[in-house]
Amino acid sequence: MSTLDGGVLPDWSSYGVVAASGVLAAALLLAAGIFSVALLLVLTVFVTAVVTYTWSRRIEGPRRAKDRLVTLMIVAAFGLALIPLLSLVFEVAKRGIPGLSLEFLTESARGHIGGGGAAHALVGTLVITGAAALISIPVGLMAAIYLTEYGGGRLGRALTFFVDVMTGIPSIVAGLFAYALFALIFGPGIRLGVMGSVALSVLMIPIVIRTSEEVLKIVPNHLREASYALGTPKWRTIVKVVLPTAFAGLITGMMIAVARIIGETAPLLVTTGVVDSINSNPFSGRMQNLAVYAYSEYRTPGVFKQASYDRAWAAALTLIVIVMVLNLVARLIYRRYRTEIR
């Protein structure tokens, strides 16, 4: 045997060991009389780890054995992380689909006793979130430009610090802030769509700043210098070179920020309230978003309890679908417009 020619486990070994370990684990559990799916998975992973490591160490040596062991651990951890996600999506889809109907998407709850739809909440979600984005994106983007292009001084450091603090604000506090702000101006008891938008911007601005800042930082300095060397002023360099180069990343960051706040409940309970009819004017009267709708349908079901619960699940499902679509759109835009930067 030459020095380069070490032993290698056969190609089928990884799957083979998993299958064999699964059978062995099942047999052990059945023999012990404590069979359950969760136990089976745990024991299978454990047996696979032991068998793979011992076998690989004997044939391939300790380095490859460790490699196989760590690979197995990572795959198992990935699977573990995936379980709650898949189970959540599956559960929401299973329970949400019965409540979905044309009526659910087009009718409001006004004038229906224990029936109606969530159109008012759908409109509310879009208006409140849209207005929040309208406030947060310009503010956040400009703050990020300040931080990456101008701010190295005390103001920049202070801004970074407060952005970090803002990221950690509990969402209900943002809601109370917006409520207090508007109560000061319009008196207590006020409920407006735009109050919800202000509350959500408090949550959204730090996310927009953070993601935009990261993206703008990646724009290589040599592009800025190339622009300066042509006698281009700084602001034009930012507008014509830095922002276009970072465009795809910026859009993705904003989509993620929107997805993050679209499902907020607590801050909207205190600012936009609960309502039954469609209201698309954020400056007048109460508004409701899908999350608050789901909450109130579940909290205070009507005469037909099951129908209310179904609508709550359907609202949750609609929300998840909206977020997924937003993420898909962000990915498409990223693929379409990303620029190769070295």
Partner: protein, 296 residues
């Protein structure tokens, strides 16, 4: 420099910019006729350059002659690039960097208190070490970038002419004329560097600074750029930093040798003179050692 001097510098810089703008709108024929236009002289007097507390360059006084190629040679870290970047006020873009001494363009202090660095950079263009076309722009837009990026509106037909002339000037026209709308990053390394040269000459600067423009290129592309430099000097004043001794001896008229006594000490200008003299009979022993490859 006094306030009166600063005003003079400012107005003359303004005038020079207008000149550049008018030459920029001439037809290709008239520019061809204007070949061998007199360019401007860059002069430095006791220039010291700093990064924070660290002094990178000490007491450099030299002249970059018009319509000649001046090569800056010397070992790594001796401040050649730093010095070059001070000539169009790019040095100060680094945080903490500062300049002391006088740098003049045809007698006007480019560091005068009332001089706008943006104006200086319009007159003193720069080509960088690695090709850096704007990745979001097409070949055409990259060349027109200086015109687009600067406020003045230029008619489409004029822009077409400037782009074609600049690409021809950079010996790139024949290779890219059929794919002007393709991204600049789709070109090869050598083509990208010539694209960057075309971009720099499209704004018709007086002086062209080149920071090791061939260090990322293969010998064939290098030769193409060197030929190009030889032609460009009829219209521009050129200063080029290079690590390649053959390149300095082939492409330059004047050579300046920079050196530093030891690491951590600032770089100094050891000797400047006609390239032939520097490479055959330099006055300083250090220069002789460096150009003959005995150290450095």
């Amino acid at each position: 420099m006094g306030a009166a001097g600063a005003t003079r510098a400012e107005t003359e810089l303004g005038k020079a910019e207008m000149n550049a703008a008018t030459t920029g709108t001439q037809s290709p024929e008239s520019v061809a006729a204007a070949q061998g236009r007199p360019a401007k002289t860059l002069e430095t007097r006791s220039v010291n350059l700093y990064y924070g507390d660290f002094q990178a360059v000490e007491n450099v006084s030299m002249t970059v002659e018009p319509n000649k190629v001046t090569a800056l040679i010397g070992s790594s870290g001796c401040g050649k690039t730093t010095f070059l970047r001070s000539l169009n006020r790019m040095h100060e873009l680094t945080a903490g960097a500062s300049v002391d001494g006088e740098i003049t363009l045809d007698g006007q202090d480019i560091y005068g208190s009332r001089v706008d660095p943006v104006q200086v950079r319009r007159l003193v263009g720069m080509v960088f070490q690695s090709p850096n076309p704007f990745p979001t722009m097409s070949v055409y837009d990259n060349v027109a970038a200086g015109l687009n990026l600067n406020a003045g509106r230029v008619k489409k037909s004029e822009k077409d002419e400037i782009v074609e002339r600049s690409l021809r000037g950079a010996h790139l026209w024949n290779e890219v004329k059929d794919r002007l709308d393709k991204p600049g990053s789709s070109l090869s390394g050598g083509q990208q560097q010539r694209l960057c040269i075309a971009r720099a000459i499209a704004v018709e600067p007086e002086v062209l600074l080149m920071d090791e423009p061939c260090s990322a290129l293969d010998p064939v592309a290098t030769l193409a750029i060197e030929d190009l430099i030889g032609e460009l000097k009829s219209k521009f004043t050129i200063a080029i930093v290079t690590h390649n001794m053959q390149q300095a001896s082939r492409a330059s008229d004047i050579t300046a040798f920079f050196n530093l006594e030891e690491t951590g000490k600032p770089g100094r200008l050891v000797e400047i003179g006609a390239t032939e003299k520097i490479f055959t009979s330099p006055a300083q022993q250090a220069t002789e050692d460096y150009v003959s490859g005995r150290f450095g």
